[in-house]
Amino acid sequence: MENIIEVVGLRKRFGRTVALDGLDLAVRPGEVHGFLGPNGSGKSTTLRVLLGLLRADGGEAVLLGGDPWRDAVALHRRLAYVPGDVTLWPSLSGGETIDLLGRLRGGLDAARRDELMARFELDPKKKGRAYSKGNRQKVALIAAFASDADLLLLDEPTSGLDPLMEEVFRQCVAEERDRGRSVLLSSHILAEVEALCDRVTIIRRGKTAESGTLTELRHLTRTSVEAELATAPPPGILETLPGIAALEVRDRKVRCEVGTDHLATLISALSACGVAALTSRPPTLEELFLRHYQDDLASAGSAGSAGSAR
């Protein structure tokens, strides 16, 4: 089965600002795909191109087997979208808004709607203008989760949710996956992505920096290892191991980082000296993420024009 979303070399500029500069993105059927990037890196622009709200300047985008611009209406029957900043109709109640959005999408599951409202603890009788940011977000999330869509496009959906509701959100996404739906989750909350996503795409200044499963991405980076040995390692042995970095040896204590591919070599060298204690920590998503943006931070001043969110 072909990919749910297939984006190749996507380009979009707003006046002189380049928002997307050859972006690639592939979402497979039935997966929860994390879409990571700092503010202004082009995540929302990508989603808005996929929704046919913006017309791409170049590159290809295929969504559910169709053209997001030309086939917008037909495709939208099969997807649900939650914007990052939800604005509601001031005079409509939350319940009315959920029903309206569901009906415009071609129907929603009333039982599931009621269940979700209970789980998210939403008061559906309040008028749109009376909701706080988190509650507006809940309205949009319930409308999306209660719909019968093949694909969910979620743009930073948990900004404004409290930790309890964030947990409910995670459960809902897991249920969606169990029901065989695909999810594209744009976010910069790394713990959320780490907990939910099968694969991630990291974008940076409108380009794809990295894409794959978390395990695959970890292979590209280093694991930090701390060991206490029975005897001090003979000098010159550890230093020459492949992929080793930041090595510190103090008597019987060793601390270093090693390329994840070379972890086995290091462990066998260490065990030759007798291991008393060993901790090995794979890189967190945060470290992966920071590694990609460290050079951005350095040149943040000059690269401020990398594109705004919209």
Partner: protein, 536 residues
Amino acid sequence: MSATAFAGVPELTRLITRRERIRLPIWCYAILASVGGTAYSFKTLYATPESRRQFADGIGRNPALAVLYGKPFDLTTIGGLTVWRMGVFGATLLAVMSIITVNRHTRAEEEAGRFELVGAGAAGRHAPLIAVLRLVLGTQFALGAVIGVVLVALGEPVSGSFLLGLSVAAGGWVFAGVAAITVQLTDFGRSAAGLAFAVLGAAYLVRAIGDGSGANGPTWFTWLSPLGWSEQTQPYAGDRWWVLALLAAGTAALIAAAFRIAARRDLGSGVFPARPGPASGGRLLGSVGALSFRMQRGNLLGWAIGLLIGGAVLGSIADSIGELLGSSARVQQLFERMGGQSGIENAYLASAMNIIGLVVACYAVQTAARMRTEETSGRLEPLLSTATGRLRWAASHLVYPLLGSALLPVIAGAGAGFAHGGRSGDLGTQLAQLIGAGLIQVTAVWVVVGLTVLAFGFAPGATAFVGWSAVGFCILLQELGPILRLSHWITDISPFSQVPRAPGVAVSAEPLLLMTALGAALLVTGLIGFRRRDIG
């Protein structure tokens, strides 16, 4: 009020001044240019007392104009002519400026949540209201003084000139006070502004009834309306400064009331609390059409009621128009020339319908520009990400500027027809004639709608600007064209000048079809642009 209530006022005044640095000068310039331009052109066009007397006996004696623009007191001087033409008109424009500006910086800010940022800082809870009133009242006072200076420079008496300038300004003051109260009442900026505009409409109509009554009628109605007070200062014709004091006292009372009400409510809420809505969408709420009906129905109903009353008031005045003319031989000649009693009535009703057309154009631009507000507020995006096409969404909104704009003048025409026909005894004829006279206005409105949609398609940021400029331009051409004796080449630009002046003339289909075609072409082009452009 304690001293801390004023904390943050200077800073907020600067902020508001900055945000208004384009709009307020445009308002002031437009009003100053209208008053100064009117006085200057009267001065050059009617230089001699004899020419002024001729003018006064001609269009100046047209009672329809007394109803619509205010009562003339002395048409033999340049100043008196200017007062008659610009006094009530200018005061009404300043009232509109007050309502819009006060609402924008108080209730609308609170609704958008921006006031919380300010309120959390070291600002008193009434600081925004104090700041915006200070700016609006101050600007209008200064404008009034400048109008006075300009009129003195044109050679008019000092006392009357400044009294006229300040009477116009005072129209703005009173409605700044009215708006200060309405923004406390509801928690929703749109309804707060609507309420204030309803008061303004009532003030205009009450004054029109008073000014349109013959000697035996309820002329005292004029005194029930602040716009009537503004007229009754009678600059250059007695200079009743004490009436100005009445206006100032009224403003002070309204503002004091506003602060009392404001002290009793919570931030973000109104005196009338928001009611909860239904927990689920009713069966009818299942399409974008139903959604825009929900959003537009209150507004349409308000306009319909306003125009029904407006039409009825203007219609009920029609048959006393003849009495206002007086009975000099000269006037009798004029009377005959205008086609006798029915001729004068028809001319008056045609002018009234023309004004109704311009008012409906305001509704049309308001509802057409709503499409852009929906887009920028982020409410369009979730709709277009459902199975709703762009054109379908646009159609759900365009129903109101296109068909609502046809319904409203029909309602106004029906109101006028019932009121006038009921009094004159030929209800059927009058009803049919006036509904027809109202309906044909819509063709001109459609041209304005077409322009607005064209901007929405190709220069979305300029949607409201283009729409309101078009209406403003039509109003100014209509108001000033005849006085400035502008060439027909210029006044004919306004589509409203192309609408046959019914009732009383044969309505030819050609200009109506032409304007409909032009409006449709503009609209379709705009929609093609909207389909092809980026959203947001």
